[in-house]
């Protein structure tokens, strides 16, 4: 079959610059101009459209499905149910507990029940209206704490607890002079990416299928799709299409198996695109959480113990709940040095929307609670909130509650000092500019009721996959002479989701091989696994793989040189030969032109690269070296609150973060600004509101995300304290700023209002008390 059109080839076009520079990304201008091809723009001659019939109920038994009338609609090519799933009717990124299509029970509102393939989306819609599904509506389980206590009817055979992680360190009955307790809540945040779930499945001659899709992890998709289709892996080929944002929301399957089922069934290319409302049902969200904390400290504010119970609502299916639970538990007390720790974290099944990966992944929920507690402690002791944190901050060599010793830079104190010592923004005044006011251009105050507050927070995040996961990536680098010049080609399956990975990968090759011309092959499953574009890991792990492949290529080039010149390998080694500026150079001499050494040969190397191994944690005590690296960021937020109306304007949101080494400083800044903005969203507006398991605001009309008038200027300090274990010393950068942004803003609102504010997002009613 022919190729689809509107695939994002422009992603792979060349950029200039090596490691440490900030070349312009290849997709930047196209995206700003609206010319970038996203997965929803895919097109294939002869294609038909797929659509998904979803459950209107959060919990119901399916007592009958009648497709008769739907099949009669002219233009309908197929109507499929669970009975048509060719392989295993089970998927899931960690546990395969979710049916591809519901069988006899639906566990959340929006669960896929049937598929239609038709010549037009409108035809598909009409056919869906004619599918009759009989439901016997059941009582939904919606209380995560009750589910954790085993008080609700089990939604899965294994019960309602997906995972419980205890962490025990030191004296479990420690006491302290000063004790602060709190109960905190975190609402369900959405990734709110702008590109809805979409893709195109093209049936292949060999009985397999080619799937073009926006995803975060091609190989984990491939695995699940192949298993659901009952096909061997090599018959299910995935290629990355233009991704319109991800933030964790594309780690689970959405339309992948569905489009492939329709394509194989109809022998036609099938396109599926969710609309905005459907998208809210089509991906997992951030786990809402209830968190109970108790902090004990001495009179100087030094923590003696921390005890916490954390409940994460995983919704109907496991998704990545188990890993999120481990993060919330092991990072549950924050970047603080505490001898006595008792943390229990539960992730549970309910009939709420499924929750899984989202930027910050468990560390966000815990971060809001432990930072709120640190402020409470400071308040009780009459200490400055930064001071109480400085007195407890971890540093390199500190021991985490899991027993793991932090073995690279942990400049938590310095990050806090950096944000504290930045100049404060001027008071709002002078000529009235509504854009600077809480309420913004809606004209709610000209200064009346406005009180300023300042708040601080710091956070910790594990970088890369943890708990003994075999976390690796694969990269291929090819070096050959093209038009008289040495040129490199790099290939990986690592998903460019907007974070700028394709740019960084080219920078690495350019630096390692000393060539100017580097091109990137499209990302697909024709090469080995790269792991997910998540956990702030891709520059670390795929960057490491590319660097390693470059090293293998360089070794081969040196071999060629050695053979051509008769210089023994030992001698070449002694010369310290390197590739630079298209030449083979020693520390003081040009040895050869790279193009001459290569001649007509191509050097082509593929490397699989792993970071140092991690360990599982002990299921009873949570002890173990579970994490490979920790990332830290601190924020200072300055807010103006209209205390009478409960409206908030974040005036400044400054951040300091250690990134080990900024491979692309501009991209680092983008991650910090974006992460901070996403944290702001959780602090003051972003929440999927549910009632009895049903989503009340599945649209951007009522699920609000920050606009340019909500996001303030950000002063950013980037520290580069190399981690000796990581490629180039880098430290994953994407998630840490999301963690500390939220509690810093809420702390600032508390400072302005004097209110306890134990729930995010903070709504106007929480401030006005009405």
């Amino acid at each position: 079959m022919s190729q689809p059109v509107r695939t994002p080839t422009d992603l792979t076009s060349a950029v200039a610059g090596g490691v440490g520079e900030s070349p312009q990304r290849p997709d930047g201008n196209l995206k700003v101009r609206g010319e970038f091809a996203y997965s929803s723009d895919l097109w294939h001659e002869d294609m038909i459209w797929g659509a998904t019939l979803r459950s209107p109920h959060p919990h119901a038994r399916i007592t009958g499905v009648d497709l008769t009338e739907a099949l009669k609609v002219p233009g309908v090519h197929a109507v499929l149910t669970h009975a048509d799933v060719p392989g295993a009717n089970a998927c899931g990124v960690e546990q395969r507990d979710q049916p591809v299509l519901a069988v006899d029970v639906v566990r959340y509102q929006g669960e896929p029940v049937a598929l239609v393939g038709a010549d037009h989306p409108e035809t598909a819609r009409r056919a869906m209206e004619r599918i009759v599904v009989d439901y016997e509506v059941l009582e939904p389980v919606v209380d995560a704490e009750a589910a954790a206590r085993g008080e609700c009817a089990p939604l899965h055979a294994s019960g309602n607890v997906v995972r419980h992680v205890p962490v025990r360190r030191g004296d479990q009955s420690a006491t302290a002079e000063v004790v602060v307790t709190g109960r905190y809540e975190v609402g369900m945040q959405d990734q709110a990416f702008l590109g809805p779930e979409s893709g195109l499945a093209v049936p292949a001659e060999d009985g397999g299928v080619d799937l073009y899709v926006a995803t975060q992890w091609l190989h984990v998709d491939q695995d699940q799709v192949a298993s659901a289709l009952g096909l061997p892996l090599e018959k299910v080929r995935l290629a990355l299409s233009g991704v319109g944002g991800a933030f964790g929301g594309r780690e689970d399957l959405s339309m992948q198996v569905h489009a492939c089922m329709l394509a194989l069934h109809t022998r036609k290319p099938v396109k599926m695109v969710y609309n905005r409302e459907e998208s809210f049902y089509g991906h997992v969200h951030r786990h809402p959480a209830v968190l109970h904390y108790e902090h004990g400290a001495d009179r100087d504010g030094k923590l003696v113990y921390v005890r916490a119970k954390i409940y994460l609502d995983g919704g109907a299916y496991a998704s990545s709940t188990a890993a999120v639970v481990a993060n919330a538990a092991t990072l549950g007390i924050g970047p603080y040095d505490v001898d006595n720790v008792t943390v229990d974290c539960w992730g549970v099944y309910t009939n709420n929307p499924p929750c899984g990966a989202m930027r910050g992944f468990g560390a966000v929920q815990a971060g809001f609670a432990y930072e709120s507690q640190m402020d409470r402690l400071a308040g009780v002791l009459g200490l400055d909130p930064v001071e109480v944190r400085l007195r407890n901050a971890v540093r390199e060599g500190s021991t985490m509650p899991t027993g793991q010793v932090i073995d690279s830079a942990a400049p938590v104190a310095e990050l806090l000092e950096l944000v504290r010592d930045r100049p404060l923004p001027a008071a709002t005044g002078g000529e009235l500019d509504l854009r600077q006011m809480p309420g913004g251009v809606s004209n709610t105050t000209h200064g009346e009721g406005v009180v300023r507050g300042v708040g601080y927070a710091v956070g910790i995040k594990n970088i890369c996959f943890s708990e003994g996961h075999d976390d690796y990536s694969t990269a291929r680098v090819r070096l050959e002479v093209v038009g008289g010049e040495a040129a490199a080609l790099v290939q990986t399956a690592a998903c460019e989701v907007g974070q700028g990975l394709v740019t960084v990968v080219q920078q690495i090759v350019r630096t390692e091989l000393g060539v100017q011309r580097v091109s990137v092959l499209p990302m697909d499953t024709s090469i080995g696994n790269a792991g997910s574009s998540s956990a702030s890991r891709q520059t670390y792990v795929t960057g490491g793989a590319v660097k390693s492949a470059c090293a293998a290529v360089r070794a081969r080039v040196l071999e060629l040189y050695s053979r051509q010149t008769g210089t023994g390998p030992a001698e070449v080694g002694r010369l310290g030969a390197e590739l630079r500026g298209g030449k083979l150079v020693s520390s003081h001499d040009v040895l050869a032109d790279l193009a001459d050494v290569l001649g007509g040969d191509a050097v082509d190397e593929t490397a699989e690269w792993r970071h140092r191994p991690t360990e599982p944690i002990d299921p009873e005590t949570g002890q173990g070296n579970a994490h490979v690296q920790f990332g830290f960021a601190a924020h200072r937020a300055v807010v103006d609150v209209d205390v009478e109306l409960g409206l908030v304007k974040v005036v400044a949101l400054d951040c300091a973060q250690d990134v080990g080494r900024a491979l692309n400083p501009q991209a680092v800044l983008g991650q910090i600004q974006g992460g901070s903005a996403q944290g702001l969203g959780l602090a003051v507006m972003e929440e999927i509101r549910t009632k009895d398991g049903k989503v009340r605001n599945p649209s951007f009309t009522d699920y609000l995300i920050p606009t340019v008038l909500d996001v303030p200027p950000m002063g950013v300090d980037v520290l580069e304290r190399a981690d000796p274990h990581a490629p180039y010393g880098l430290r994953g950068v994407g998630e840490p700023p999301t963690i500390s942004s939220t509690p810093a803003i809420v702390a600032a609102i508390r400072a302005a209002t004097g209110l306890p504010l134990t729930r995010v997002p903070v709504r106007p009613e929480h401030i006005t008390g009405t």
Binding site: N275, L432, D433, G439, V441, S442, N443, T444
Partner: protein, 294 residues
């Protein structure tokens, strides 16, 4: 779905008379959302953007006539001095893109209780001009809204314009939303001072099934201003008067709890908005400078 694009009002009215089920579309910023969400599947659309006379505004002495299809951006640009309240409300609608497309006619056509121009039209005693093949009629703004998304418009009628007097005194519009731009009103409030008539206009939005005049508040304040001779003296308003005005505005509302806000919050916020915006309007009336700003 049919798509009709008449170039004169007469043609459009004829089409609507023949097929009352045609859905008019001006800026499309409500219609297209409804179509996309599948809330509505009209048999045909009647595009009004080809009708030049609907996209014009004109002045007849002190009365301004704003064509139904004049976009918000033009109101902000052209009429900020004469219709400050309408311009302020227009400025808070959506984003620049929405203000380039969206129209007052569309706001009226949707008759959403949250529409931003409604309180201003009521407070300014605007008249909605509607027409059909049967003839034209004028509907006072506060008789136009009948229920949630229901209006006095007949199926064969089109909105042709709104008519309202150029401002003779300060006007203010304020709305509460949970973000600082591009937000639907949780509640909104408009106030107009009409010194020449010794009258105050006040109306609330997004706090009842329809936008609503705050009659008791209007009467209370008009009476206070007149009896104390404040219209002429332009002395500062007693705090107690501002507060009472706020309370009466809040009492005019019958809000509900929904995903955007609680009823109690809406009532509370309306009292605050009313008190504050009256304060700004009065400061302007007292010569304390223009309280309309960037």
């Amino acid at each position: 779905m049919d798509f009709l694009r008449p170039t004169t009002l007469a043609e459009a009215l004829a089409a609507k008379a023949e097929r009352p089920d045609l859905v008019p579309i001006a800026g499309g910023t409500d219609v297209m959302v409804e179509l996309n969400f599948d809330h509505r599947r009209p048999p045909g659309l009647l595009d009004l953007t080809g009708i030049a006379e609907l996209a014009r505004w004109s002045a007849d002495g002190d009365v301004l006539r704003v064509g139904a299809a004049v976009p918000y951006a033009r109101i902000v640009q052209d009429l900020g001095d004469r219709l400050p309240g309408l311009a302020m409300a227009s400025r808070t609608v959506g984003s620049p893109q929405i203000r380039n497309r969206g129209t007052v006619g569309g706001n009226l056509g949707s008759a959403s209780p949250a529409g931003d121009t409604h309180p201003v039209l009521i407070a300014g005693d605007a008249v909605v001009e509607v027409a059909s093949a049967r003839g034209a009629r004028s509907i006072p703004a506060d008789e136009f809204y009948l229920g949630v998304k229901r209006s006095a418009l007949e199926p064969d009628e089109l909105i042709t314009a709104v008519r309202l007097a150029a401002a003779t005194g300060p006007q203010q519009f304020a709305k509460v939303g949970t973000r600082n731009a591009m937000v639907i009103a949780v509640c909104s409030f408009a106030v107009s001072l009409h010194p020449e008539r010794l009258r105050v206009g006040a109306a609330v939005g997004s706090a009842a099934p329809t936008p609503r005049r705050a009659s008791a508040a209007e009467e209370f304040l008009s009476a206070e201003l007149t009896s104390a001779g404040l219209w002429e003296s332009r002395e500062p308003l007693p705090d107690s008067v501002q507060r009472r005005f706020g309370e009466l505005v809040a009492e005019a509302a019958s809000p509900i709890d929904d995903v955007r806000g609680s009823a109690a919050y809406r009532r509370h916020a309306l009292a605050v908005l009313a008190r504050r915006s009256l304060g700004w309007a009065w400061r302007e009336h007292s010569g304390g400078g223009n309280e309309r700003c960037a």
